[in-house]
Symmetry: C2
């Protein structure tokens, strides 16, 4: 059985949980709170020198990191990864877009809003992060006006990767009102068989989020 | 024949050129200077709403973007992409690392040093970018102390992806003196069959780089 080291309110970690649940594969989850340094202990850094979650460990002790690489490995031979190489490349295109042009703005705006003190100097970055987050959403919206999914003709791991932080973008003050096709796609993702919702922010994070918008 | 829209001094664009050269596949290169807005014209944005290079266009007009997704597509069925799914996942792990934890610091420090005016306010970011760039190099060095390559047992697209900006990290003031295993790997990459060097910065960029370190 695989073990996943993950922080439940993290979208990157939730990606792995969602796919494992939809695949019906048993796994062990070890809650690892990156916000309080649990990915920076000497024991953790031996396994992942980059000090991040999620991390997947196989039963025989091999380690895989980077959420989207974990999705790729788990999805091989399943309907969540397309067979055609052009469609595979398009799925990866969206997964690289997610990590480069989407997550660093939408996820970081959410993290700063919910998981840093109200007086944090990082909050000065929020207007820039929100602006760039909207730019990413506009690119997604343009795709979704003409396509149902990001993975190809069917739901799959590029949709899982992009759903993770898109559906909670409002936590970072990035509202989805202007993106009807994206809201429709979120609803389709959440109606797929075996879908499980992401863990809600705890009361402290939720309170900060409410004060940040 | 494929067409590549690329800016020659860009590492992300050079990745695509290097793989095409090593594969011996003919291609057409359309020089597209992102530093002066050539990826933000209405014609370009129709093809790539994210407004970035590189972009690959097939002979029948299909478009693929994101440098590492292009590498993946071109490398299918060649020795530059491993056959084993675990090795594939590790290669992708390093390619996602490159786009999330490496390029945003090492490539951006280089871009600011060479391609923004000497008085640019963005230069205030250089100390932070250099610090995080060194953190990425330390993760790579740790891997290279024990492994020859990033793609698995052989040279391949994860090495191409990471070589692009690592070998020019000093342009951004991020020196490689402390990373002997990384310098050895750069030499191995540059000795692979069909290797072509990246285009040097032009005189204006080179002059700024010399003044920035």
């Amino acid at each position: 059985m695989n073990t996943v080291y993950g922080f439940s309110p993290s979208g990157n970690c939730h990606k792995v949980r969602l796919l494992l649940e939809q695949l019906g594969r048993p796994y062990r989850w070890i809650e690892t709170n990156s916000a309080v340094g649990e990915t920076r202990t000497p024991e953790y850094l031996v396994k992942n020198p980059n000090g991040k979650v999620p991390m997947l460990e196989t039963e025989d002790g091999r380690v895989l990191v980077e959420s989207n690489a974990i999705l790729h490995w788990l999805a091989q031979g399943t309907p969540y990864w397309p067979e055609d190489s052009w469609q595979q490349a398009q799925a990866l295109r969206w997964m690289f877009f997610e990590q480069y042009s989407h997550e660093p703005y939408i996820a970081v705006a959410r993290f700063i809003s919910g998981w840093t003190p109200m007086g944090s100097t990082r909050r000065a970055d929020l207007p820039m992060l929100r602006e760039r987050g909207h730019a990413a959403l506009a690119v997604m919206e343009r795709h979704l006006v003409e396509h149902d999914w990001f993975t190809g003709p069917h739901y799959g791991i590029a949709d899982i990767a992009l759903h993770a932080y898109t559906h909670v973008a409002p936590h970072g003050g990035i509202l989805l009102d202007a993106y009807p096709a994206t809201r429709g796609w979120i609803a389709r993702v959440e109606a797929t068989p075996g879908f499980v919702p992401m863990t809600e922010p705890d009361a402290e994070a939720a309170s900060r989020i409410a004060q940040s918008s």
